[in-house]
């Protein structure tokens, strides 16, 4: 961790002194042993505020909207870079407004898994080797790093940033061999069991705090559909029907866009396994359209693009088929 932190600081100082960006956004230490906190560094003298965040679980691309008008450098792992790619594709940010300090990602730790180790956790030492040392109220524990990794890191297929302005040398995780294991587990349930899972794990616990939406770098609508009043699509209370609708519609709004950075799940104060909904739709996008989000800023988007050989019998294909052309 020391070396990667030093590399990040060195790169950030250079970016600032060479004027490639006005501000570097990354993570610093947080107020708790299992939290890192977003920082915006504006001068080379301040770069010591940056660290490699073992718990950088919220996507810093989400902060771009707060810094509009400034040239921002982001410490960008795979999913951070991919989120920026989608924002570029969707016209939400201009390429020249963002400088990507690419960092191949060794994976990050899950605060919930760490907190579950003991009643009180006072220190976490993660040097990116295969073991993590956790100091707790029940003594020091040495845990395999793999056991404390975030679920989305375990299923990550793009630990290295596909888009970057410079690349820092870092040990990237191996690409996951079974990215959809959790999804397939639920797919294996009967429809009624699946609905029961959805109601119990997601709907019944949701507080409608919108931490998931606020944390997501790709939820940027000035007025979210839940806040529309003319017409009103969804009720605003925690009513199970309204809550189910909120999560289903949000997941669908992210199809072909979500990069599984896991921010939604990390942000949820109730620990709801939210990313499984979008992961399922990610699997659908891949199997139905061979599409993966956030890899190529020049590529068209999934839902704004139509190909003649798309499986859906749409208006144009219908005509072409009738005319025997396809």
């Amino acid at each position: 961790m020391g070396t990667l932190t030093e590399k990040i600081r060195e790169a950030a100082a250079k970016v600032l002194t060479e004027g490639r960006a006005e501000v570097v956004v990354g993570y610093g230490p947080g107020p708790l042993p299992y939290r890192n906190r977003l920082v915006a560094v504006r001068s080379a003298e301040e770069v010591n505020r940056l660290v490699w965040p073992s718990f950088g679980v919220l996507n810093p691309a989400n902060a771009l909207h707060k810094l509009r008008g400034q040239k921002v450098a982001l410490v960008a792992t795979g999913c951070v870079s991919r989120a920026v790619v989608v924002l570029l594709q969707e016209g939400q940010v201009k390429r020249e407004e963002v400088y990507l300090l690419g960092v191949p990602c060794p994976g990050m730790l899950d605060p919930a898994k760490v907190r579950a180790l003991a009643a009180k956790v006072t220190r976490v030492e993660d040097d990116l080797s295969d073991r993590v040392l956790v100091t707790t109220s029940e003594g020091k524990k040495e845990i395999a790093r793999e056991e404390l990794l975030r679920a989305n890191c375990l299923s990550c297929r793009h630990p290295s940033p596909p888009l970057y302005d410079e690349l820092i040398e870092a040990p990237a995780r191996p690409v996951s061999a079974e990215p959809y294991a959790q999804v397939e587990e639920i797919e294996g349930l009967s429809p009624s069991a699946r609905w029961a899972w959805f109601e119990k794990e997601i709907v019944s616990r949701c507080l409608r705090c919108y931490a998931c939406r606020q944390a997501c770098p790709l939820c940027y609508c000035p007025t979210c559909f839940v806040d529309d009043s003319r017409p009103q699509w969804v009720g605003k209370t925690r009513d199970p029907v309204d809550t189910a609708l909120y999560h289903l519609v949000r997941a669908y709004h992210l199809t072909g866009r979500c990069v599984d950075c896991g921010s939604c799940e990390a942000a949820c104060p109730q620990g709801i396994p939210l990313r499984l909904l979008t992961k399922k739709l990610e699997k659908e996008a891949l199997s139905a359209f061979g599409f993966e989000a956030g890899l190529d800023p020049e590529a068209p988007l999934l839902f704004t693009d139509f190909r003649e050989d798309d499986p859906e019998d749409f208006m144009i294909t219908h005509e072409l088929k009738a005319a025997g052309k396809i």
Binding site: G30, P31, L32, R35, N36, R37, L38, V39, A40, V57, L58, N62, A63, K66, A119, K120, R205, L207, R208, C209, Y210, A211, R213, Q214, A215, T223, D227, G235, K236, T237, R238, D239, A266, A267, C268, P269, Q270
Partner: protein
């Protein structure tokens, strides 16, 4: 008035209560639920008792969904409830909310129909700081009864006359020695854990100096402007009002809202006096640690530490209070 209940008599007492009242207890680290024999008493729960008084959906009016319909007020539930295992910080939270809602009929009805039985914490949680906010956990603010576990038994303080009906034959009056020991404990606590000097400084800080201070930008940067802290907080009480129509029937309901949301202050014209995320972040903390403090003499905070533990972005309330007090 102080009583003693042997620890092994707790379940039979609870069982007896559950036959006369709707009894709620902490069922897991998550929150409260109906008593079914299980109890979670290790530490305070994630969700506080706020929702017993400000529920996630409070129907106010019922009406036919057609122009000209005259709505009928909804008469709320009348039954008596007992909530056991309430931490002193959560109970004080209810007392603070009551300062604002004392004349609100739905709140009043729930408050009068609910007994709060407190349970003293064995030790402060890692992020607790209630005393710094002026909480004296032994004072029983907001509670009908307070259970303090000592040497295999509970010392039970009675704070309201109505709570007498909850006691059964297993409660014996405590002797002088026990009463004195508890009083000494309370005194020792008050000596060791005092209210934060920050509170006095905040009372004296000029309002506009706080508002215009330059530190808000940096404090607010990591904040997601979600409602997590607001909904978990035992003292946040803002609510939204919505008309919900299904088919031919409609209900006007009250539901929790958060000043962190952009829609919270948006006019129908689109104008928003607090359009920026920083402005909304600042508003929440100025309300709790300046506006409410100036109006009622105490902050709108009981130091339960939930916001610090659960904020996914690492926003730390102490950083904010300290920075504000040094303006």
């Amino acid at each position: 008035m102080l009583y003693v209940l042997p620890q092994e008599k707790l379940s039979s007492w609870l069982k007896g209560l559950s036959e006369k009242y709707r009894l709620f207890v902490p069922v897991s680290a998550e929150g409260f639920g109906p008593y079914e024999g299980e109890l979670y008493l290790e530490a305070r729960t994630r969700l506080s008792v706020k929702e017993f008084f400000l529920p996630w959906r409070e129907p106010l009016l019922r009406f036919e969904a057609r122009p000209g319909a005259v709505p009928e007020p909804v008469a709320g539930p009348e039954e008596k409830r007992v909530v056991f295992g309430v931490r002193p910080c959560d109970a004080k939270g209810v007392a603070l909310i009551e300062k604002v809602f004392s004349e609100d009929e739905p709140f009043r009805r729930r408050r009068e129909g609910t007994f709060l039985v407190g349970l003293m914490c064995r030790e402060p949680g890692s992020q607790c700081f209630g005393w710094a906010m002026g909480l004296d956990p032994f004072a029983g603010e907001g509670l009908d009864l307070l259970f303090v576990e000592r040497e295999g038994r509970y010392l039970v303080s009675l704070f309201t006359a109505r709570a007498r009906e909850l006691l059964d034959e297993n409660f014996a009056p405590a002797d002088e020695e026990a009463a004195r020991a508890l009083e000494n404990e309370r005194e020792a606590f008050r000596q060791k854990y005092a209210a934060a000097p920050a509170l006095e400084k905040l009372k004296e800080a000029p309002l506009l100096a706080l508002y215009e201070a330059p530190f808000w930008e940096e404090l607010a940067l990591p904040c997601l402007n979600c409602g997590a802290c607001t909904f978990l907080c035992p003292t946040c009480y803002c609510f939204d009002v919505q008309d919900e129509v299904v088919g031919g029937e409609g209900v006007r309901v009250r539901l929790p809202d958060a000043c962190m949301f952009e829609l919270y202050s948006r006019h129908a014209s689109g104008h928003n006096p607090r359009r920026s995320p920083v402005a909304r972040f600042r508003n929440r903390f100025l309300h709790k640690f300046k506006y409410f403090l100036d109006l009622y003499g105490e902050p709108l905070c009981v130091g339960c530490g939930r916001c610090i533990e659960e904020c996914p972005a690492g926003v730390n309330l102490w950083d904010i209070i300290r920075t504000m007090s040094e303006v």
